[in-house]
């Protein structure tokens, strides 16, 4: 299997739909509109859209560039995510970015923000490099006000950097667009549940009890392993966290008497995306529970983590505790994709799905 094919393979049955909606969201690829990267589910894509940019979630799972010396030396020690982020941003041509919006969600993002301009050169100038601060644990009106201030700051920075104006009408249009996507996601979920209840199998992510929940940060290692496993086991894998470009499938509510920025702030603070820095008990996280919904529990959970990512490694404890209390088998793969790890996952899946290798 070629590297491109492996990199392009999806570990989530939602992937084709996401791509389709992504096109709807960002306009077709032929339009060649300017792209602005973001790399956290807490970054409001509505503002990027309202500014006239195509939001691109980074790091890209399959970077077209080979690892550079810079990315290896700076990103390598920290985590694969930072390395891929550097590569994704530095890669030129079709994927050139005009900027990047990050949060203080992990050290990798903070380090990237800090290193920018010192050792990393921008693919296009002037590059927009913005760091948002996120309320992680506090949920309430005071956190909404804080996040609203961050949104205002982001809007002001975008306006001054690109000499544009983002009006309330632009924001409303962007909100309508993202709400369409959320409604589509909800429809897909309802249809998938119907398919599951009819036991039709096929490409539904809910094939009775024979579904494996995949958990872990998005990245090349996860893509590689899942593409290898999907070749052998088909669509038994369900990856809700891979769908967290939008923090929830609830539509963004328009509250009378408030500005669109306030709607956005309220939505993102009260419907947080999954974040290992914020979560203390992953399976009980509100966003995650909403995705899991009333469906029957999976027959197994596959946890894939980067050995250098400290937050995910600590978060694995919560998954272990939860799965043991629920009596759900868990396989935790912590490291690079190697032959023995793929075989180990295969043996575990064979036992679980009661089929021969």
């Amino acid at each position: 299997m070629s590297k491109e094919a492996r990199g392009g393979a999806s570990c989530s049955p939602f992937r084709p739909h996401r791509e389709k909606w992504g096109e709807e969201l960002t306009g077709s690829a032929e339009q060649g509109s300017v792209r602005l990267g973001y790399c956290c589910s807490q970054v409001p894509v509505e503002i990027i859209l309202a500014a006239g940019f195509k939001p691109v979630r980074l790091p890209l799972s399959s970077s077209p560039e080979a690892p550079t010396r810079t990315s290896l030396r700076m990103g390598g020690p920290c985590c694969m995510r930072l390395r891929r982020l550097i590569e994704s941003v530095k890669s030129g041509g079709r994927t050139a970015l005009y900027g990047l919006v990050m949060t203080n969600g992990c050290d990798a993002m903070l380090r990237f923000h800090s290193l920018w301009g010192i050792k990393l050169s921008a693919p296009c100038t002037p590059f927009f490099n913005h760091l948002m601060q996120i309320p992680f644990r506090c949920r309430g009106e005071v956190a909404v006000r804080f996040y609203h201030r961050e949104l205002l700051y982001l809007k002001e920075c975008l306006e001054s950097h690109f000499a544009i104006e983002i009006t309330d009408a632009d924001l409303r249009a962007a909100i309508r667009k993202t709400n369409r996507i959320r409604r589509s996601l909800r429809d897909l979920r309802a249809r998938a549940r119907e398919a599951s209840s009819r036991q039709t199998g096929g490409s539904s992510p809910y094939q009775g009890t024979k579904r494996i929940l995949v958990v872990g940060p998005e990245g090349p290692e996860k893509t590689l392993l899942m593409s290898a496993l999907r070749d052998s086991y088909g669509d038994v894998f369900f990856d809700p966290l891979g769908c967290t470009e939008y923090p929830s499938i609830d539509c963004l509510a328009e509250t009378p008497g408030e500005t669109p920025l306030e709607w956005i702030a309220r939505h993102y603070v009260l419907n947080p995306g999954y974040c290992p820095k914020a979560a203390n008990e992953a399976p009980k996280n509100a966003s995650f529970a909403r995705w899991m919904g009333p469906d029957p529990p999976p027959c197994g959970i596959l946890l894939l983590t980067d050995p250098r990512c400290r937050l995910w490694r600590a978060e694995a404890i919560n998954w272990e505790k939860w799965t043991s209390s629920q009596r759900i088998p868990l396989l935790w793969i912590n490291g690079k994709v190697q032959r023995e790890r793929v075989l180990r996952a295969g043996r575990w899946l064979d036992r679980l799905l009661e089929r021969k290798a």
Partner: protein
């Protein structure tokens, strides 16, 4: 065992545990180890009286804790010394680290903190308070602790921006913290003690400011520098303001005794960039006999000193929230590297150092990713530098090999200095 080996240079000087009043009565407290053992004796007594140990990270200003007589705040940076000075059951915490797989990629300091807290929990009630502004390793240690001891950990959201909404968020968090502590101790905050605490907090801030000025005013023996003296000061401050004042006086006397006029004399002036805490501990004796240290690390952006004492609990909470946004934070990752580099350059030029010694721990990933720009800076300035991986918990063999490198570097620097002066 490794820890004991690594700390042997300092621990050999450790006096016997204290008898009598540990804060007032002994000249041994003029050494780091003496003050630390006095401090741990204070902690031991307080815990014996039934107080709850509250482990907190340096980003959380301690004054709010003084409102709760039932808790004893202990800075988490002091935890690595617990085994050495308190005689905790050394294996206790490590045996309880059943989640070893989850802790393997933590930095050694955080692993040691975790082991110490788990050891202490065997016999005492322990609470922990941290912030989300700390590094991932520190957060991961708190997450592991949270999973082991439910409802004993409180994490504060502490954004950095010094504006109104940030302060409101921090203030809300501090109120939540007050409620958490009240629920855990079963007692409401004591305002009269708060008032006293504010005086202590003021004394602490003033003392740290003095120390910062002293430390940056000239070169002095290695073990008197701020990083070496900080645990001592923190320990003393946690005991009483009088302890802090005494510690400051000791430092001032030692600096006056050892400081050199100008940049003349046989001593090397080494710019010391300790990038991770305690990473120079193993080389302290070697450096102390050969060099004068000048700290070039940009770690103290400014210490707020309150002008007046608050008149109510609400004011104290507000002060704490504001302080949390400005408190000097060694793990301030949001600080742009550009700012740090500019300050390092300014320090090097002001102090006219002969060379720079960078010490760091290998597992600190954030430091590793920023090494290249800092090395580039020294190259462009033409300053000789040595990059030393100095894990304080490394084995003796490793420490000796690193010491050989350090000695060679110092000899080289001394030769350069001779050539410069003779030329």
């Amino acid at each position: 065992m490794k820890q004991a080996e690594a700390l042997v240079l300092q621990s050999e000087k450790a006096p016997a545990l204290w008898s009598g009043d540990p804060v007032r009565d002994s000249e041994d407290r003029e050494s780091l180890t003496g003050l630390l053992s006095a401090y741990f004796e204070c902690v031991r007594r307080a815990v014996g009286e039934g107080r709850v140990l509250l482990i907190h990270s340096p980003e959380v200003p301690p004054e709010i804790f003084y409102a709760f007589p039932a808790v004893l705040p202990v800075l988490d940076e002091l935890l690595p010394f617990f085994e050495l000075f308190w005689g905790c059951p050394s294996g206790g915490g490590r045996d309880r680290m059943r989640w070893r797989r989850h802790c393997q990629n933590l930095c050694p300091l955080d692993r040691l903190k975790l082991a110490a807290v788990l050891s202490l929990q065997l016999d005492h009630r322990v609470l922990a308070v941290g912030t989300t502004s700390a590094c991932d390793s520190n957060l991961a240690y708190l997450k592991v602790l949270e999973s082991q001891c439910e409802d004993s950990v409180f994490l504060v959201d502490a954004p950095f921006r010094p504006d109104g909404p940030s302060e409101d968020l921090r203030e809300r968090q501090v109120w939540d913290l007050v409620e958490f502590l009240a629920a855990k101790t079963g007692q409401p905050p004591d305002w009269s003690r708060c008032s006293e605490a504010m005086r202590e907090a003021n004394a602490l801030s003033e003392a740290f400011l003095k120390l910062s000025r002293l430390e940056r005013s000239g070169s002095f023996p290695f073990s008197n520098s701020f990083f070496f003296f900080k645990p001592l000061l923190q320990a003393a401050a946690a005991s009483t303001p009088a302890g802090m004042r005494r510690a400051i006086r000791i430092l001032r006397e030692r600096i006056a005794r050892n400081a050199l006029p100008g940049d003349s004399g046989p001593w090397l002036r080494i710019g010391w960039l300790e990038m991770t805490p305690l990473s120079s501990l193993s080389f302290a004796d070697l450096l102390e006999t050969q060099v004068r240290a000048v700290t070039v690390a940009p770690l103290l952006p400014g210490i707020p000193i309150p002008r007046s004492r608050p008149s109510s609990l609400r004011e104290l909470v507000r002060f704490t929230a504001r302080n949390m946004g400005r408190h000097p934070c060694t793990r301030d990752l949001a600080m742009r590297l550009e700012t740090s580099l500019a300050e390092i350059v300014q320090r090097i030029e002001t102090c006219r150092v002969d060379a720079v010694l960078m010490t760091y721990q290998r597992p600190c990933l954030n430091v590793l990713s920023s090494l290249e720009p800092i090395e580039g800076l020294f190259r462009s300035m033409g300053i000789p530098f040595l990059k030393l991986q100095a894990d304080p918990f490394a084995s003796t063999r490793v420490v000796l090999s690193r010491s050989a490198r350090l000695q060679a570097f110092l000899a080289d620097c001394a030769a350069r200095r001779r050539i410069r002066f003779s030329g």
